[in-house]
Symmetry: C2
Subunit: 339 residues, 2 copies
Amino acid sequence: MVREYNVAIVGATGAVGTEFLRLLEQREFPLASLRLLASKRSAGRSLRFCGREYTVQELTPESFEGIDIAFFSAGAGRSREFAPHAVAAGAIVIDNSSAYRMDPEVPLVVPEINPEDIALHKGIVANPNCSTIIALMAVAPLRKVGAIRRMVVSTYQAASGAGAQAMQELLDQSREVLLGQRPQPRIFPHPIAFNLFSHNTPVGEDGYNEEERKMVLESRKILHQPDLRVTATCVRVPVLRAHSESINVEFEGARPPLEAIREALASFPGVVIVDDPERSHFPMPIEATGRDEVLVGRVRADISNDNAIDLFVCGDQILKGAALNGFQIALEWTRRQSA
Amino acid sequence: MVREYNVAIVGATGAVGTEFLRLLEQREFPLASLRLLASKRSAGRSLRFCGREYTVQELTPESFEGIDIAFFSAGAGRSREFAPHAVAAGAIVIDNSSAYRMDPEVPLVVPEINPEDIALHKGIVANPNCSTIIALMAVAPLRKVGAIRRMVVSTYQAASGAGAQAMQELLDQSREVLLGQRPQPRIFPHPIAFNLFSHNTPVGEDGYNEEERKMVLESRKILHQPDLRVTATCVRVPVLRAHSESINVEFEGARPPLEAIREALASFPGVVIVDDPERSHFPMPIEATGRDEVLVGRVRADISNDNAIDLFVCGDQILKGAALNGFQIALEWTRRQSA
């Protein structure tokens, strides 16, 4: 008999929580029961799941009794406050926030890349940042053909990374601009419609913003390469929910043959190559939206460096960038329980 | 007495031609007379200039009699066909198309960077491609503090680079998406509203598209560095008329001090530094739009390479990326005539 699990979703009414719920509903998962948790403001709301109404309960330290798996997507503050209670209650926490990602006691996992790290958990497994997951889905497969020395990443990040309200803001502001009105920023610090801007996380002493620092540090941790060289420039663009990234990857040694590189990408689970110069068809946010896979294209030898390649990747920020990756961690953990 | 010049604009009704006309009207220029030229389709239209109506004339081989300066912005085909007639008639041609840019007999000029090359002309001076001009306005100043070895560029290019109709298409498609309709591409091969895609110029054997190849070859020519290492990934984004570019610049030797780099940028004509982490204020298309200067920010030491820096630049694609640069070439040429 297959064991089934009691699952709690913290932040069940948010963009990522909603998507996690949809994944639980639509995909195979050994689910015994479901508990939806959110802040006091959202408590009492009703959500439909598998034809039944579930009432969202207020998140409290006592919310996790009997829970086996708790998925957290309610911000780093809530994770820091409540994840320890979930762990104390015996649950494994899969945390989508940045709270524990760089904690040496907490594995940071992309299941296609480092599933074995799940086994090292002490109660919490962290879900990496969206732009890191999407970049590494294109970079990790290359390790099959050559060691990676350095990544130079420029991102084109969708509004969804800042939540459902930010997506609405992009739509609202676009309407305002089309009506000849001046858009009024509410969520983002600058107009997002027909504009773009440097990712608005705080900038450190070294000039990198937090989103860029996540790309650097999380990539090193996930790939188990503490010396990996990474630089990133993270930019928000007027796109709804798929991130794009232009990545220059330098190998330790001479560039492997492009054919071997393409083969390594094509055979990697979760990657689809979209690279058709004839039809000018390459990865695009509108085609990555709603898809599990990240799309990789523009794979070419870098003419400025014999050891490097350029590529371009798109992935759904809410799916592989957040909810799907967390769901896959949960699923992988359940498989390892019964193995 | 200051000499005055008879000027012709070829492609006077296009996005760049219109902007060139506006510059001639609003700025100091030793103008004697003006002739507006366009294809048969636009001939007969009337354009207002300095309070007077001018009728657009059909472009023919005989259009250039008495003309001193001919500004061409009507596509490479028209330049190839008609520029030789303008030269034969004694005019200097300032060509905004790609037709002559890589011709070794034709100087390729950004007046802040290589104004002395204008003197080498044999009838034609080429205006570089928009994304090249904007990138080099940020990179050329750095040569004051260190030799440049390599550039890794990712672009965020506005719709205007594909003309006025493409800008309209972005607005129309955005409206369609907001109304729940499926946008119908006409100018671009893919939807541009709330999307982005690899620049749709033809892709060569080496995997680079023509826009990227322009960045590589034109940068080498303008900077007089035939061995300059450049790689680029050119992407079209849903922005109206200012290009943005994320650039990683590697010096030949150790990275100069950041203070010296900032000073070199700040003192370069046509560059404005916008780099305020406190207010999360960096270069943005909506602030570069309508400005002569390119905005440079996110200037920081690349933590992945001791010899490199990262920066982010925005410039108005129609102004510094096209019409303004051509106007500046014309003005510089007139100054050199009277010098």
